[in-house]
Symmetry: C2
Subunit: 354 residues, 2 copies
């Protein structure tokens, strides 16, 4: 989460609209730099996966914008310690107030502080004085539509690997895990949207492990929690981190299914809501909800905190998730029985959707 | 800072527009509950002072709003552990987008966690297992005008006192100190405004200690610092905390002069700027600067952090300082030589104004 939002390139722009195939072998045709084989290292395959997810989502969002709508700006960067990324940002479009879909591929020495942090997270096997290199590949996205009936959407999937600096390429990594998740943040609750969103990701989870969806759904409710408001950020989805309970192959297949579900999870919902009529008062309620989004991201989100504490971080990548506009109104309280109150009730007490 | 913004009543509403006199004896006439004598305890005198400051500032701001303009809503609360406050909020007025002026008078047992925190801040004399009661009186204000040429203004002054629970009323407190400050946050730099703002507070400081202004000016520049942006929040002012280097009488006189300078510091500036013409682009720049204000308050401000970490805190009081509206635009960079860039240069390298 942190690396992906905090660090983001080079040259990825030329691929962003290539139609990466899903199986590694299919990538050969579209990625001239890396002829990915079925037995390619996980790092290479994850890099191809996050590029494909970025390409799929930016294409789908631009399609909703239509021929005269907004287009993604591709902002590529490199990191001198090793790594690159591309932030794709669409701002003030026809349908979307702000949409950011970024990837980052980091390959560099692992900072000693990070090792200490990881040891504290039950990775005592790591040598605190050892020299490690790390690899991170991740994709992260946040989409804020104009129409208050259309929900905000966030997702991110990532892979993390640590190797001893003197390890051979064929050695297994000293540690490797996957993380990620997706969640939906409506301003007005359409139950069918929440059900659809959860159903698609539950199906993807169930193919791999029946325990994943219930565990990761609860983890999501607990993570995206504006504790200072007593409100969840939205109607949830899934969230997981440090996942290494199966073989890398099996976990790659799982994360790949999750990432490849994103378009199906979100696009039909926004298509259904993006042209609904709304009032000025509903727009203002949306702006207040945007304020809550800012609060979560600046006060609680671990990725943002890590990004802000990292010297030399690319701050625009860290803050790409923030909405274009937000509002704070003193002591705003929705009328009893109103749709606004109905949303708050669901945010206060998360529900089972499927 | 924390107590004031995090905790904020009763009955103060009826005083808010009373014209408290400055000298304690003058308060007798207008505060029927507390006939304040010259030898009244510091807690009583500070309570009267913060009420006076609140009254003066809300009156001055409403005068600028004019007869048909916005009016302050008075929101009073009590705290079950002991204490009360009044938040005065003016929202979406003629001149001001949002203005909040709040007082809080807390008198309750001191939480053990607070004692530990204080001992860590060089107050080893406090008995970690002792039972103490605390008293806090503070006033806090943030004013966001509509016009982008008119700067945002923030100030807060407070007094903190700890006593052993079994102490007699006539015993001196186990610890007592003052804190506070004021700072100005323009979207467009008018040097004469920054000079005026600093000059008024320097004069107030110099009357009491020639070392105060230079020390507290630097402290302010260091505190209101969006380190993640490499930008100060604004053109500064003063900031101090744990001030106990003189007698309580002398410090009360200093803080009283500071508090009584606020109207003179800020009101002439906003009067000069509030009707200036501006463009839509300038308004958007203001909205971006509002975003930076939100970033500081949510990411760095110690008072907000403490408030958010306090169970049962009144969150609307903590967040009263946030602007009504704010904006985040990906990778916005002012044109070279523009007034927007001129402001950024001053925020990157604080200047001596007087």
């Amino acid at each position: 989460l942190l690396a992906v939002s905090a660090l983001a390139g080079f040259g990825a722009a030329q691929y962003a609209f290539d139609n990466f195939g899903r199986a590694p072998v299919e990538c050969e045709a579209v990625n001239p730099l890396q002829r990915i084989k079925g037995n390619a290292p996980m790092s290479t395959r994850m890099e191809a996966l996050v590029k494909k997810i970025q390409s799929d989502m930016t294409s789908a969002l631009e399609e909703l914008e239509g021929p005269s709508g907004g287009r993604f700006l591709h902002d590529s960067w490199t990191r001198k310690e090793g790594g690159f990324g591309t932030s794709c940002v669409l701002q003030d479009g026809r349908v979307f107030e702000k949409a950011g879909v970024s990837i980052s591929i980091i390959s560099s020495p692992a900072p000693k502080t990070m090792l200490a942090h990881m040891r504290a997270r039950n990775r005592e096997g790591l040598d605190p004085n050892g020299d490690y290199k790390m690899f991170v590949a991740g994709v992260s996205m946040v989409v804020h539509p104009h129409n208050p009936m259309a929900p905000t959407f966030h997702a991110n999937y990532r892979y993390f690997e640590l190797r001893k600096s003197d390890a051979k390429e064929t050695d297994p990594p000293a540690a490797a895990w996957f993380g990620g998740g997706c969640d939906l943040t409506p301003c007005y609750l359409f139950e069918e949207d929440a059900v659809h969103f959860h159903k698609v990701i539950k199906d993807a989870c169930d193919k791999h492990d029946k325990s994943y969806y219930p565990r990761f759904k609860e983890w999501c409710d607990n993570y995206f929690n504006n504790t200072h408001r007593g409100e969840r950020r939205g109607v949830g989805g899934i969230f997981f981190d440090d996942l290494e309970d199966k073989s890398p192959e099996q976990l790659y297949a799982f994360v790949s299914d999750c990432g490849n579900s994103l378009v199906k999870q979100y696009i039909p919902i926004v298509r259904k809501r993006m042209n609904m009529p709304y009032t000025q008062a509903q727009k203002e309620w949306q702006q207040l909800r945007r304020g809550r989004y800012v609060e979560f991201n600046l006060v609680h989100d671990r990725g943002t905190k890590f990004g802000l504490a990292t010297p030399g971080v690319r701050i625009e990548s860290v803050f790409m998730s923030l909405p274009l506009t937000a509002r704070w109104q003193y002591n705003h309280t929705p009328a009893p029985g109103s749709p606004e109150e109905k949303l708050l009730n669901v945010l206060k007490t998360p529900r089972e959707w499927v």
